[in-house]
């Protein structure tokens, strides 16, 4: 169960003076069982890459296979394979358009020509999932909600399609700290409880450090690191080259270690880091 990206290259506006290669022979496997984070500088090609995962962009060269099926193929099963991948873009609330929250979330399922009872069930489930009370919000205009609520409506619209993979491009940009935490917790639940394969595009290393179990760095259209978080964050030089910061916890532990405290700077998770510091302090109160 995976998405296979096979030597995919993508060129914007080929054969014009504006021709630009955004992806260069990218190969990677996204396992359904993993929480994958794709990180990189603005312009590194990460958004171009994820738009290939459900056929919004078609590779100039190479292939994208969802569970063994080429999604850009001609056969009917290619369409079904594309539908397995749900996509939440940056600022998804800008794409709301219906008169009520219900109609907006129901738009996708209705397009799939599901029975109205099934549509309603899916909308209810999706709203429960994003913590929007069905009775209270279903008739409200999505345009009179707060920014955080609008974003949750937009995400519910994708959840209602019941994708097997969910791709989110910077889902927390502009949310306040609690809104960010709540949303990330929900995404993490989707992965752990519903078994949905998650791909998170982000430049927030601290979010990525708390959640992902595979991290992919991109730079100038190529994958430079593809590893588990512990290994990936040790490549501090490559992180810097990719225009990214090391997680704050790693930076703090590094500073404490310089001061002579026996801590492990390989830790990036906040709670683990605090436990590690406590242990080190109790071990040697004089350093």
């Amino acid at each position: 169960m995976s998405i296979e990206i096979n030597k995919v290259s993508y060129t914007y506006m080929p054969k014009t003076p504006f021709e630009r290669t955004a992806l260069q022979e990218v190969s990677l496997t996204i396992e359904k069982a993993e929480f994958t984070a794709i990180v990189g500088h603005t312009g590194s090609g990460k958004s171009t890459l994820v738009q290939h995962l459900n056929g919004l962009l078609q590779p100039t060269k190479g292939q994208v296979m969802v569970e063994g099926i080429d999604i850009n193929g001609k056969k009917a099963d290619a369409r079904a394979a594309r539908r397995k991948v749900g996509m939440v873009f940056q600022y998804p609330e800008h794409q709301l358009f219906e008169e009520s929250v219900f109609a907006d979330i129901a738009f996708g399922p209705r397009n799939m020509e599901l029975a109205e009872a099934e549509v309603e069930l899916r909308v209810k489930k999706a709203m429960r999932f994003v913590n929007l009370d069905y009775a209270e919000y279903k008739e409200r205009s999505p345009f009179q909600l707060s920014g955080g609520q609008m974003r949750r409506v937009a995400i519910a619209g994708v959840i209602a399609l019941q994708p097997e993979y969910l791709v989110l491009d910077e889902p927390t940009a502009g949310l306040d700290p609690r809104g960010r935490q709540d949303l990330l917790k929900k995404i993490s639940e989707l992965h752990q409880q519903a078994g949905i394969g998650v791909v998170l595009v982000s430049h927030n290393m601290d979010d990525v450090a708390q959640l992902a179990n595979r991290i992919i760095f991109m730079k100038q259209g190529e994958v430079t690191v593809n590893a588990g978080p512990r290994e990936a964050f040790q490549e501090a030089e490559k992180l810097k080259a990719a225009g990214l910061a090391v997680p704050q916890m790693s930076a703090l532990l590094q500073r404490l270690k310089q001061q002579g405290l026996a801590v492990d700077p390989g830790i990036f998770h906040i709670d683990e880091g605090i436990a590690n510091i406590l242990q080190a302090i109790k071990g040697a109160r004089s350093c």
Binding site: H41, T42, G43, Q90, Q144, S146, G147, G148, E170, A173, G174, L175, D176, P177, R178, G179, R180, H203, M205, G243, L244, A245, Q248, M249, A251, L252, R255, L256, Q258, Q259, G260, L261, I270, G273, I274, I277, L278, I281, C287
Partner: protein
Amino acid sequence: MLDFIQIEDMSYVYHPERDDAYKALDQINLSIKKGEFVAIIGTNGSGKSTLAKHLNALLLPTAGSCIVAGLNTKTQDDLWKIRQEVGMVFQNPDNQIIAAVVEEDVAFGPENIGVPTEEIRQRVTDALQAVGMNKYRKFAPHLLSGGQKQRVAIAGALAMQTHCLVLDEPTAMLDPSGRQEVLASVKKLHADLGITIVYITHFMEEAVAADRVIVMERGKICDEGTPRQIFTQVAKMEKMGLDVPLAAKVAARLRSAGIKLPEGILTDEELAVAVCQ
């Protein structure tokens, strides 16, 4: 002397005639001195952006008053003077740039108010230099990174010889290096040119750069102080749904686990020194 910005008992209600009228600001009192660097933090919907839009008369108070550089924002005839005093930079770098070449974009404001050509040229050069973007003056804006676009937007305000910049989450859409570029430019304008800065952000590590932090909740100012006073109240900030810098958070957790640490720890450096004493 009057403060540069003086807000008295100011309230703002969105669509007051309708059933779902919403009071976004509730009797705000706030003074900002000339040359001060103020950060405003608070959850989504706490009224930060509504407050910011009053500072150059994009919104007018429903009640109370907002005085900028001695001018009441309600006086229609002073509108353009006020907008010249206070420049705004918003979240999305792609919505603020209008011209096809960087220098033309920066020149747009001064051209509109009939500044002589020679002077425009000088102002554009000065403004682009102040944000470190002069070498990109002939570039097309769409070839710039997000951080560079935001710096061009700031230069556009500087070319109007603005005395105050209001930045509403200018880094929300940027990657870490873009965020650093923008914050460094803002700090430099404040330090070198004495420009008054009002900086709205969800990134607490950016708010730490300010002289004073204002905390908003449900349309009111619920706390204000130096970054150290604000961010060392870890439990209070977390209860409001806001972050604190990691070192302050770790220090609080270590204290509650029984480790004796001095109060007021805010940076990694301070924590490292305190832990090892």
